[in-house]
């Protein structure tokens, strides 16, 4: 019987993958539901013996394969896939994510076994040597974070996986959790072993019900959890659901929420590494950071260190979204340029109009003009250009975009998502919306630009956490590169 791989990924499902899968099953094919390959413009997509068909409709179940009408070709020959360097995502789309035996057969647990064979200290050293940096956005060296927790004496420590993926235009965490959950669990266990934590939490956003189901299944079936591992190490994982607040992706607000409290940012110090979940030393890492650990341990720190550029090592799963022809996930080593992502992988805008701005790093990332598209995807290069890589989300806008409206949106987003603890964010974001409105409606424009500049300083330097502190970034980039958009009202 022919075996067909069809994604159960929620992105694929949103365009009808379930109905397609049902039709293929009804047609007598052996359907395996997998994660998505991340070629979203081809979803719903089917993969048979390495050959890709898509986008499919249920009607395609009969006859389409023979007809070749929707045949794209061998996966390995699709340039947008072939150009990638799939490390983290190598299993995603290739196997049934609920099948732990398939996971093991494809190299799963090799990283954990390698870790358990060496000392926790050596595990941390391997992570440090690999150059791995936090994939959640801040890019903090993971080895140093783990070392800090390991060196903080306490009976109880925790690993907390930040799976509250809330940045607009990002979905890599979700794809990985839906497509290769055991890899993440293995990463948590390695972190637990390295720092001396017996318990991990995955804090998952409530908007990811499919990921929740997949993770819950994996947690229940992972042979390495709640089991005596080498040296008497035991590790357990608990899945906790968020309640729909962007701010709970900020690590300290996440910890508050995890503890059952309102999701308010905490002041640092203390760092979570010293006093995190329930006041105990805690590693808080993003999904992709933890998922990298098994690969680093299995394949060696050098292999990871060998990829990338400057101080940004390894690969990064970039996510292409917005006004883009070929949206989806691109895992590539750091150093690839923004233009390569937008043009070579993304194929330009979906509207076919020229690219005017690209926002990288979520709603608090900078809007880059066309002239910055050759910036390499590298933490330091982006910072130097006034932006940030963040979680690797790339949102493309064509020449119809109004950047004053986007600046207003940045404030409105902050106002909506602010936890309300600190004054600059709680009141400042609201006043930002109002001030942009005054400017764009031509009211005391010069004076209000001054007010806006002062507000941006208060928010950037005065806010308690990164939400208020980074909201100025998109606004300032809009003012810097697209100031003419703000002058429309004045000229009317």
């Amino acid at each position: 019987m022919t075996t067909v791989l069809i994604a159960k990924d929620s992105g694929a499902k949103s365009v009808g993958a379930d109905a397609v899968a049902a039709a293929f099953e009804a047609a007598g094919l052996d359907v395996i539901r997998t994660g998505s390959r991340g070629l979203y413009w081809l979803e719903p997509m089917a993969e048979i013996d390495g050959v890709v068909y898509g986008p499919l409709t249920p009607e395609d179940a009969s006859g389409v394969l023979e007809s070749g009408a929707k045949r794209i070709g061998p996966l390995a020959d699709i340039p947008e896939f072939a150009m990638q360097n799939r490390m983290l995502f190598k299993r995603v789309g290739a196997m049934d994510p609920t099948d732990v035996e398939a996971y093991r057969a494809s190299g799963g647990e090799a990283g954990l076994n390698a870790a358990l064979a060496i000392s926790p200290d050596d595990v941390i050293q391997a992570i440090a040597d690999s150059g791995l940096r936090g994939r959640g956005g801040a890019g903090f060296p993971t080895g140093i974070k783990w070392r800090t927790v390991a060196d903080t004496p306490d009976q109880q420590k925790y690993i907390v996986c930040n799976a509250d993926e809330g940045d607009s235009g990002t979905f890599a965490d979700r794809m990985l959790m839906e497509g290769d959950p055991y890899l993440l669990l293995e990463g948590l266990a390695i972190a637990g072993y390295a720092v001396g934590a017996s318990k991990g939490f995955i804090y998952l956003r409530s908007e990811y019900p499919d990921a929740a189901e997949t993770l819950a299944n994996a947690i229940a079936n992972a042979p390495f959890l709640d089991a005596d591992l080498a040296g008497g190490f035991r590790f357990s994982i608990e899945l906790r659901m968020g309640a729909g607040a962007y701010i709970c992706g900020e690590e300290t607000a996440l910890l508050e929420s995890l503890e059952g409290k309102r999701g308010l940012s905490r002041a640092k110090p203390p760092l979570p590494a010293h006093a995190g979940a329930f006041g105990q030393p805690t590693v808080v890492n993003n999904v992709l950071t933890l998922a990298a650990a098994p690969i680093i341990l299995a394949e060696g720190a050098e292999a990871h260190q060998a990829m990338g550029t400057g101080r940004s090592r390894g690969t990064m799963p970039f996510q292409l979204a917005g006004n883009i022809k070929q949206g989806g996930l691109v895992e590539a080593p750091f150093g690839i340029t923004l233009r390569q992502l937008v043009e070579d992988f993304g194929g330009g805008t979906r509207s076919g109009r020229p690219v005017r701005a690209v926002q990288v790093g979520g709603p608090l990332g900078a809007y880059f003009p066309e002239s910055l598209l050759d910036t390499p995807m590298d933490y330091e290069a982006f910072a130097a250009a006034g932006g940030m890589l963040g979680h690797g989300g790339v949102v493309v806008f064509d020449d119809t975009v109004d950047l004053a409206a986007q600046a207003r949106f940045a404030f409105a987003f902050c106002a909506h998502e602010s936890c309300g603890k600190c004054t600059p964010c709680r009141i400042g974001a609201q006043r930002g919306v109002e001030t942009v409105d005054k400017i764009t409606s031509g009211e005391n424009v010069d004076a209000n630009f001054t007010v806006l500049d002062d507000l941006l300083e208060v928010m950037r330097d005065g806010s308690l956490c990164a939400l208020g502190g980074l909201t100025p970034t998109p606004v300032e980039s809009a003012l810097k590169w697209f100031k003419q958009d703000f002058d429309k009202g004045a000229s009317q």
Binding site: A245, I247, R262, G263, R266, A267, K268, P269, A415, H416, E417, S418, C419, G420, K421, C422, T423, P424, C425, R426, I427, G428, A429, Q430, R431, E434, T435, A447, V451, D454, L455, E457, V458, D461, G462, S463, L464
Partner: protein, 946 residues
């Protein structure tokens, strides 16, 4: 004439002796390790702008006014959340910081009413101060943007209002409710700009919420959002007087804040040793009785208790009284007269009443309300340790690891101490509660007892012996402590006794109803869980074996080495503000001040020489004996200062019979209380705000009481006693209570170092205070017990004779509630009645169903002593078979039902166990009806003659 403002360091002082040195604005500053930069700066006199920070709460870091720059660090961290580090160099006032602070203030004010001039907090508002400090001159956002100015005010709480339009969402109120009070009634709703403070949830007001009106939020609020209603109505106070609360035995220090002679608010004093800035609804708010129209302002006399009262001059009242006493003593002998001192009055006043009794009346017939509460504590602890008082200061609970609460309901009766306890429990200390009822401390927000031992009323001693049995038979005794500190013979004897099978938890179960397994676990936890601290209340003492139980707890603490250091001890939660002091001052018929027996020749000679009279060496009568004597015609006159025995003492009908039989009953009180119905002389007393003196709280802390306003009757209570003494021909001429204290310290070894000067400089002193302990004694028995070796006493359990029968199958136990104080002479005359305006009978649904009772039914509560009618409230806080009521309101007449059973050693009444029956009724009891008629008749005051 100014308001005392205590320094706010912004964040709490760390508990460390270690200091680090840093530079703040170029000045070298030494600060405690772990202190915030803000705290360190304040120590050096630099006040960094702040709004969300206050030193009673943990740092929060939300207002962003306190930003500073630190050399070598990025950004502008908040100084409240950033700890000092050695060598750090901090700038608190740069151009950049000024710009940021002004920007933050501009945001605040863009959503704040511009009504400073008409605002209740004008001139007492931190927001206003910060606007000034940051130099805000212009709000360039305008005032047309989104705002909260139309938010509706919540005036539901009787004492303070909540105006969310003025709120800056600093969360100080929410945090105070959580961190200081531990009730967690307040929260923030919504997020971002929509964040609003709420008492519990949308559409809930303060009065309907779980708020206990402790005032911590009002105190914490930096604006007029939460503000006392009298301040709203009258404006800001212009002077303050530091004094001590006159409600419970916690003894909180307050600032009475006044405008002229009008008290506007009472705010808790951070420097107060007992409360450290916290308060409860009674002390903080329920002081309005001082101005209540029921206050009696003129002395009154009458020939017969059926006559109306006649207002007279002080001289006439004193002369009338003196003549009656003299003629009674001439006819019936000196011992036909006696006194009751007041645990509500000052040490000095209590001392004077016992002096009047012993030296002027010439009898030792003096007793006090401790007779009905903690007399067994005095007896039991003196026997075991040598001192009639608790062993710890309140602060000690912060070092406890296992807290054993027995027969006490601290969240209702000692709320400010309960908040300390709950804080420690939230930090992880374990809790064991032995109580027939599931009191709030058993399970409330972030507090849950590891073990609740719901024993049957009357079985305390069986329980304590069972706990001891486990400790002794499972090898959990602290042998080293016992060997070094205790009397070994008594220990061996006791250990053999408790090890008997009859004292095992399994055997005790038949009496206590508590599972033996739970008792065993609780005993192990207390013995092995680290510092074990016992706190107990009237649920221990008010039993026929009250004194036995106190000794049983002392035994347990000694056996486990839980004495003589911080975090441990045996601690009575004493009821009245000055019940400790009243006992210390010689209020018992057998003891001079300082617990020296009247047969102690040295002590007696001392007083005989000082007072110039001969003193009796035989103990006088206790209150119940005086009442018995009155009924049998031997006892004729009683001077009662500030106690309402007709309502508070058990078996009311017997009390009333005794009072009615007196030929001269002198009542000195604020109001015509229940006892005054039977009085011939009424002397209008003064409130704590109307006089000088001292109170001694449950931790032996002597606190100053300071006169804030003149006494409404013209005389302070000590002056009244003195007037009576003079009318009886005795020279008593103190010009100020400090002179009385001088006499006390001169004659009482444990008070030798106590003077008003020291109290002024130290704030308070915990006795013993003498040459050996010139600074006082926070923790007793540190180097050895006062009596030498700790004495173990045999505590055999004898079941009370008061047991359930076919006729009276239920057991009644009584207690108190947060908002009312004892017989509520004061609190019933305040808006506290909003929370509790009648005593109800709590009945378990099982018992109710058997009797066909519904919630809200009128029920008759009857015992062999009497019968009263109450409203039933179904509640599962008690076990089936046990009913519960409070005794706050005169209409409830709860003590008609209680019996004259009492503690074998001290006569402390067995309030906590009465066999009763409950049945549905449709009317008040015959007693209540006839009492009401009598009450109306006997409280008439004649119109003044033209």
């Amino acid at each position: 004439m100014t308001i005392l403002k205590e320094i706010d360091y912004g964040t709490p002082a760390p508990k460390t002796e270690e200091t680090v040195t840093l530079m703040i604005d170029g000045q070298e500053v030494a600060a405690p390790k772990g202190a915030s930069i803000m705290h360190a700066a304040m120590l050096a006199g630099t006040e960094i702008p702040k709004l969300c920070a206050t030193d009673r709460l943990d740092a929060w870091g939300s207002c962003r006014l306190c930003l500073v720059e630190v050399d070598g660090r990025k950004g502008t961290p908040s100084s409240c959340t950033t700890p000092v580090e050695a060598g750090m160099s901090v700038s608190t006032d740069t151009e950049r910081l000024r710009r940021l602070r002004r920007g933050v203030m501009e945001l605040y004010i863009s959503d704040h009413p511009l009504d400073c001039l008409t605002c209740a907090a004008n001139n007492d508002c931190e927001l206003q101060d910060m606007a000034a400090a940051t130099g805000l001159r212009d709000v360039r956002y305008g005032y047309e943007g989104a705002n909260h100015l139309d938010a509706e005010k919540d005036p539901s709480n009787p004492y303070f209002s909540f105006d969310p339009a003025k709120c800056i969402v600093c969360n100080r109120c929410v945090r105070a409710c959580a961190e200081v009070q531990g009730t967690f009634a307040l929260t923030t709703l919504g997020r971002g700009f929509d964040s609003t403070i709420s008492a519990g949830g949308p559409d809930m007001d303060f009065l309907g919420s779980e708020c206990v009106s402790c005032g911590a939020c009002v105190d914490a609020c930096p604006t007029a959002t939460l503000i006392e209603k009298p301040v709203e109505a009258e404006g800001l106070p212009d002077r303050s007087v530091v004094t001590t609360c006159a409600y419970c035995g916690v003894g909180c220090s307050f600032k009475a804040e006044l405008k002229g002679d009008q008290v506007l608010r009472m705010t808790p004093l951070k420097a107060g040793g007992a409360n450290e800035g916290h308060s409860c609804v009674k002390g903080r708010f329920a002081w309005g009785y001082i101005n209540h129209p029921d206050r009696i302002t003129s002395p009154m006399i009458r020939d017969q208790i059926t006559d109306p009262w006649r207002e007279v001059s002080w001289d006439e009242a004193f002369q009338f009284t003196a003549d009656r006493i003299k003629s009674i003593q001439a006819e019936h002998g000196r011992d036909a007269v006696g006194s009751v001192t007041s645990s509500r009055c000052t040490n000095e006043e209590t001392y004077l009443v016992q002096k009047l009794t012993r030296a002027v009346f010439g009898t030792n017939n003096v007793d006090t309300c401790a007779r009905v509460c903690h007399a067994p504590t005095g007896y039991g602890l003196k026997t075991a340790f040598g001192t009639s008082a608790g062993t710890q200061d309140f602060k000690s609970v912060a070092d406890a690891d296992v807290i054993l609460v027995i027969g006490a309901n601290p969240t209702d009766a000692h709320p400010v101490f309960a908040s300390r306890m709950k804080r420690r429990l939230r930090e992880g200390a374990q809790l064991i509660v032995a109580d027939p009822r599931k009191t709030d401390i058993v399970r409330s927000a972030h507090v849950e007892a590891a073990h609740h031992l719901p024993l049957r009323p009357g079985s305390n001693v069986a329980l304590i012996n069972a706990l001891a049995h486990v400790i002794v038979t499972e090898g959990l005794v602290d042998d080293a402590f016992v060997a070094e500190r205790c009397d070994m013979d008594s220990f061996t004897h006791w250990a053999d006794f408790v090890a008997e099978d009859g004292n095992s938890p399994e055997a005790a179960e038949a009496h206590t109803g508590v599972s033996a397994a739970d008792v065993r676990k609780a005993a192990r936890l207390y013995a092995t869980g680290g510092n074990g601290a016992i706190y107990y209340g009237l649920g221990v003492t008010e039993h026929s074996q009250g004194s036995t139980m106190v000794m049983g707890m002392a035994n347990l603490a000694m056996a486990t080495g839980n004495l003589g250091r911080r975090g441990v001890g045996v601690n009575p939660l004493r009821g009245q503000n000055n019940v400790q002091g009243a006992c210390d001052m010689g209020s018992f018929p057998h003891e001079f001040p300082g617990y020296r027996h009247v047969s102690d020749d040295a002590a007696r000679t001392l007083y005989e020489n000082l007072w110039g009279v001969e003193l009796g060496n035989e103990p006088g009568l206790r209150i119940p004996n005086m009442l018995d004597g009155a009924v049998s015609g031997k006892f004729k006159a009683l001077y009662i200062q500030g106690e309402d025995i007709a309502q508070s003492d058990p078996n009311t009908s017997h009390v009333v019979a005794g009072l009615k039989a007196m030929e001269c009953l002198i009542v000195q009180d604020l109001f015509l209380n229940e006892t005054a119905h039977f009085a011939h002389v009424f002397l209008p007393g003064s409130t704590f705000l109307e006089k000088d003196g001292t109170f001694t709280n449950a931790e032996r802390r002597i606190n100053r009481v300071r006169k804030a306003v003149p006494p409404v009757g013209g005389l302070a209570d000590w002056e009244i006693t003195q007037g009576l003494a003079q009318a009886l021909g005795y020279p008593m001429n103190y010009s100020h209570p400090s002179e009385i204290m001088a006499e006390i310290s001169q004659t009482t070894p444990t008070f030798a170092g106590v003077t008003y000067e020291t109290l002024e400089s130290e704030g308070s002193i915990q006795w013993p205070c003498n040459d050996a302990q010139p600074q006082g004694t926070p923790i007793m028995h540190e180097d050895g017990f006062v009596r030498g070796k700790g004495l173990f006493m045999i505590t055999e359990f004898f079941a009370t004779s008061e047991r359930s029968t076919r006729k009276f199958p239920l057991l009644l136990t009584t207690g108190r509630i947060l908002s009312q104080y004892n017989v509520s002479v004061q609190t019933a005359r305040t808006p506290n009645v909003a929370w509790h305006d009648e005593d109800v009978l709590e009945v378990h649904p099982h018992d109710a169903e058997q009797r066909g009772l519904k919630d809200g039914d009128l029920v008759s509560l009857a015992s062999r002593a009497g019968e009263t009618t109450l409203t039933a409230r179904l509640s599962e806080r008690m076990q089936p078979g046990v009913v519960y009521t409070t005794f706050h309101h005169a209409a409830g007449q709860a003590n008609v039902v209680t019996t004259d059973n009492s503690d074998w050693a001290t006569n402390c009444p067995e309030y906590k166990v009465t066999a009763v029956e409950v049945r549905k009724t449709n009317q008040e009891s015959a007693w209540q009806r006839s009492y009401a008629v009598m009450s109306a008749e006997n409280r008439r005051i004649a119109e003044p003659a033209e």
